[in-house]
């Protein structure tokens, strides 16, 4: 098992008076597992606590209770992340080549050749190395972030709403890229999102998340039609209603 999250509890203190504080629980006993080479989708609305869970898994926040264990090793180097807001994902004062080489430690790795290779992997060419983040489009910047995530050859990448801020056509390109990279490097993803359609495109397993709790887990994405929990059903039906109506079903099955 690459990642094992056990019984995470996290709350935020709301008011700190002199006589105790009211704690709002955000995560109420969350446990999940991600295996090697597996892509798990975590679906929940905004405010359900999924981003907090992501931060705890990354280690930038400490849980009030519970553990996060990475596959036996110290885990830090095997792990990387791509965030939703690409505009603040790269230091605006650094050029792309510095952004990419940040996670690399050895001097040897700070070579142009390797950085160029990373960019090629995500479909960009070497000329991007000299650019600043604000000179790139959303899709391009997100690709740079993915390239940066790949730089240390991690086993696990946390994708925190990584495609949500992008246009639909760009979303599809990035999802395809992520799929290809997963096959090539045998990566594991935890794909946190609110968008069911991107989960069905990319993921193997699906976890439904609501108000700090896991309400349902679907062992394989093809079995989504059999969800039982009312929240999951409501979400599924809502997405079905929003798709192109019945008249277009014929077009779908071409």
């Amino acid at each position: 098992m690459l990642l094992r999250v056990t019984d995470i509890h996290k709350g935020y203190a709301k008011s700190k008076g002199f006589f105790g504080k009211t704690i709002t629980p955000v995560l109420k006993g969350v446990s999940l597992e991600v295996d090697y080479g597996e892509c798990v989708g975590l679906i929940g609305e905004s405010g359900s606590g999924k981003s907090t869970l992501g931060k705890i898994i990354l280690g930038v926040e400490k849980p009030d209770a519970g553990t996060v264990v990475f596959g036996g090793n110290e885990g830090k180097k095997e792990l990387s992340v791509v965030f939703q807001d690409y505009t603040s994902s790269a230091n605006p004062r650094l050029r792309v080549k510095h952004v990419l080489s940040e996670p690399l430690k050895e001097r040897a790795k700070k070579q142009r050749a390797y950085l160029g290779h990373l960019l090629h992997e995500v479909g960009l060419d070497e000329s991007f190395l000299e650019r600043f983040p604000h000179q790139l489009s959303g899709g391009q910047l997100q690709r740079v972030c993915i390239a940066r995530a790949l730089a240390t050859k991690p086993k696990f990448i946390l994708l925190d709403e990584a495609v949500s801020s992008l246009d639909v056509s760009v979303q599809l390109q990035i999802l395809k890229l992520l799929k290809a990279l997963k096959e090539k490097y045998r990566l594991s993803y935890l794909f946190i999102t609110h968008d069911l359609m991107s989960v069905t495109y990319l993921c193997d397993r699906v976890i439904f998340f609501k108000e700090g709790n896991i309400v349902e887990t679907v062992s394989h994405v093809s079995a989504l039609h059999g969800v039982k929990d009312p929240y999951s059903r409501a979400l599924l039906n809502a997405v079905k209603t929003m798709e192109i109506p019945d008249m277009c079903r014929a077009k779908l099955c071409q």
């Binding site: 495109y201 039609h225 809502a238």
Partner: protein, 271 residues
């Protein structure tokens, strides 16, 4: 009802005029719903803000916008302000930013209603509460006393649409009203908007980058790309026989995602 001819919007920069929307023309009949589809940066929001006269001096707007015979672009500001809100109402993208966090909803909604409707407060309140009920917002009295941050994005969006209903305009422009909302709430909001159309025969312009949402609600679709109109036609035409490459790409993208979704969520897909 609405005729837009050769609308061109340019930004005034240090290096001169930079065109953002180029030569857009379209017409809208009464009780008709036009959907404007386009990706971010295609100019769809700018076009509608220009219609309402909400663009500041940094923009240069050329062309003609005939609303019920009057050219909105050449109208003096005080006349335009009368039309804005009374005849044309706008529902914007992020409901949370539309409201002032310092005042209760009652305060702000009444302020808007007072500007456009010359009636005593008690009547305005009654109208607002009726609109709430039509939007399936129950407990209107308590709702009015709340502050914007106490409500979720979805509810605030419905409050904004309820405000539009209370003003009973001739035309509603909705600028990506469902984008910041989760899917379950989106479905409800679309249904409310459908109801509004059926009940009041309001003309609508609906902007979105989401094809699914537009198909639910609109009669005609206009596709914009990089500031230009690339396609226009009925929903059927645009979806089944798209002519412009950009439209084809948008539909293809959606179809690819949908196929995967279908395969997972139907017991027997494509049977």
């Amino acid at each position: 009802m609405l005729h837009v001819h050769n609308l061109t919007i340019s930004a005034r920069t240090r290096h001169g005029l930079q065109p953002l929307v180029k030569d857009v023309s379209f017409s809208l009949e009464t009780n008709h719903c036009l959907g404007i589809l386009g990706e971010s940066g295609s100019g769809k929001s700018l076009t509608c803000k220009a219609l309402m006269g909400l663009l500041g001096d940094e923009f240069d707007v050329q062309g003609e916008v005939l609303f019920q015979g009057q050219n909105l672009l050449t109208l003096p500001e005080h006349k335009r302000r009368k039309i804005r809100g009374k005849e044309i109402c706008m529902v914007i993208q992020n409901a949370m930013t539309a409201f002032n966090p310092l005042f209760t909803l009652k305060n702000q909604l009444l302020e808007t209603l007072r500007t456009h409707l010359d009636k005593p407060d008690s009547m305005l309140l009654k109208r607002m509460l009726e609109a709430f009920e039509k939007m399936n917002l129950y407990g209107g009295e308590t709702l009015l006393l709340k502050y914007p941050h106490q409500l979720s994005g979805g509810m605030l969006q419905r409050v904004m649409i309820a405000l539009c209903i209370a003003l009973n305009p001739v035309m509603i422009i909705a600028d990506e009203p469902t984008t910041a909302i989760d899917v379950v709430n989106q479905v409800e909001i679309i249904q409310e908007l459908k109801k509004v159309r059926d009940l009041f025969h309001t003309t609508m312009i609906f902007i979105s980058h989401d094809l699914g949402v537009l198909c639910q609600l609109c009669d005609t679709l206009m596709v914009m790309h990089e500031g230009q109109k690339v396609e226009q036609g009925s929903v059927q035409e645009v979806i089944f026989a798209p002519k412009a490459p950009q439209t084809q790409m948008l539909i293809q993208t959606r179809l690819e995602l949908l196929r995967a979704f279908h395969a997972c969520t139907e017991v027997a897909p494509c049977s």
